[in-house]
């Protein structure tokens, strides 16, 4: 710590952004303000995640993440959480390359800083690409929107009905998940959405109805969602015929808004990383001789984006 103080004192007069003689908390103005910005941003994200938790707690059922997030590019469905784990690793390792860039900065090694920052930019862009694929799968393949959530959970046991209205051998238990398909949607493409519920209604995927209306085995709504009909075999409603309802409405809005807000942070991070990397290349920070402090500041921001993902990953995918 002693050497640290000495090092700073050398250029306190002009380089650190403070007007006075001393440095509060032995940190430069920029670094300290970055910390406080991140603190306020942490509260913003906490607000969103706590809202997610409160709404989830208020619902009798909630889409099961292992069922919702189970597709993987080229491998199809039934790969629970594989893809999001991959995304997490991409972001985690871009955080590591950022640490390396900052360390090379302390060594005043320009080439090293550029190399590791470039890897960080690639990692960030890769993460955004993964997120784009995930969103596309949910919107195009599984027809989830901000207001419509086709992922539901059964709260009763039952048996699905056949085309002539008789019970089939296709049964389900309390807690089983279902996905409400879209009438006329193409199934069997590389989104592999038809496999999505292969265990409980794969046979039904790709079934076409003439249009909205009531059918013996399903009810097709105005937007084309197929609500399969089933006979309840447990609980107080035993014997009744019902059709699959949409899952909790808030899910789509919460998912798109929170992961979108995080993705926007990643996007701005990538842009700032690029700008600062270009500044490094032009030798701007060599002239400042402050150990590439700007790299340190964008590093703080980048690690924060990774930190937020730890909690988004926890609440949306793991719990």
């Amino acid at each position: 710590m002693a050497t640290d103080t000495l090092e700073h004192d050398v250029h306190t007069d002009e380089k650190d952004g403070w007007d006075g003689a001393g440095q509060p908390f032995k940190a430069s103005y920029g670094k300290l303000m970055m910390w406080y910005f991140l603190l306020s941003d942490a509260f913003t994200f906490s607000g969103f995640l706590i809202a997610y938790g409160a709404i989830r707690f208020s619902m009798p059922s909630w889409p099961v993440p292992d069922f919702v997030f189970q597709t993987f590019p080229f491998l199809g469905a039934d790969k629970p959480l594989y893809f999001v784990t991959f995304m997490t690793f991409v972001l985690l390792f871009s955080s590591f390359t950022m640490v390396r860039a900052v360390q090379e900065g302390h060594q005043e090694n320009k080439k090293g800083v550029v190399f590791w920052m470039l890897l960080t930019v690639i990692g960030g862009a890769g993460f955004l690409g993964c997120q784009a694929w995930e969103w596309n799968t949910l919107i195009q393949g599984e027809h989830m929107s901000v207001t419509i959530n086709p992922f539901g959970t059964h709260t009763e046991s039952g048996v699905y009905l056949s085309e002539n209205g008789k019970p089939t051998d296709d049964t389900f238990q309390i807690g089983d998940s279902y996905l409400i398909h879209m009438n006329g949607a193409s199934h069997g493409d590389d989104h592999a959405t038809d496999d999505h519920g292969s265990d409980d209604h794969g046979a039904h995927a790709g079934h076409h109805y003439d249009g909205p209306g009531e059918y013996a085995d399903a009810s097709v709504d105005e937007k084309g969602y197929i609500h399969r009909k089933y006979k309840v075999t447990s609980g107080e409603d035993e014997g009744m015929v019902k059709s699959e309802a949409f899952g909790p409405n808030g899910f789509g809005a919460l998912f798109f808004f929170i992961t979108g807000f995080h993705g926007f942070h990643v996007l701005s991070g990538v842009i700032f990383l690029l700008i600062i990397m270009l500044n490094v290349m032009t030798g701007l920070y060599v002239e400042r001789k402050n150990g590439y402090e700007m790299v340190e500041k964008i590093g703080l921001y980048w690690h924060f984006v990774d930190l937020v993902w730890v909690f988004v990953f926890l609440v949306f995918y793991l719990l």
Binding site: M1, T3, D4, P24, F25, K26, A27, W35, Y36, L39, A42, S46, I50, A51, G53, A54, I55, F57, S58, P60, V64, D66, P80, L81, T85, T88, F89, L92, F93, S95, F96, V99, Q103, H106, T153, T155, E156, E214, S219, K229, Y230, K231, G235, G239, M240, V241, K242, S243, E244, A245, G299, H303, F304, D306, L307, V310, F313, L314, L318, L319
Partner: protein, 136 residues
């Protein structure tokens, strides 16, 4: 940075990222095992899965903030001004989750009160007409 040499901080960063990777992998394996996706018929109670997962995430957050963001090497005053305000979140989490559970309780009560007048069910829409026509 601080009292660490270049070589020391380099190997520390490598060590940290390996620990973070191992924790992430264990989290996913634990989540999948706990929910019965890995071994047929093996699962764990929800509170245990949740508790372990939250604990692991907090360890990850600690490593990212204290090692990657160098919080460990800042002066105590700076650490306090950043960490102490986040303690407010502890109460926010308790209060809002409590509130969420209350909303659910109220919804249940309203539904039970209305059950005799309107034909609804826990999930799903009821097709009374249809049931009448096709008595099983």
């Amino acid at each position: 940075m601080g009292h660490l040499t270049y070589q020391e901080s380099k190997s520390l960063a490598t060590k940290t990222i390996i620990i973070l990777a191992v924790i992430t992998i264990s989290e996913v394996i634990f989540a999948l095992y706990g929910k019965g996706h890995l071994l047929e018929g093996h699962s764990l109670p929800g509170w245990l899965i949740g508790g372990v997962m939250i604990a692991m995430s907090i360890v990850k957050a600690y490593l990212i903030i204290y090692e990657f963001m160098h919080m460990k090497y800042e002066v105590p005053g700076l650490v306090r001004t950043v960490i102490l305000p986040t303690l407010l979140l502890v109460w926010a989490i308790i209060a809002f989750f409590w509130e969420g559970s209350t909303w659910q309780g109220r919804r249940d009560r309203i539904r039970n009160a209305n059950e005799k007048e309107i034909t609804t069910a826990k999930t799903g829409m009821v097709f009374e007409e249809y049931t009448k026509q096709n008595a099983f």
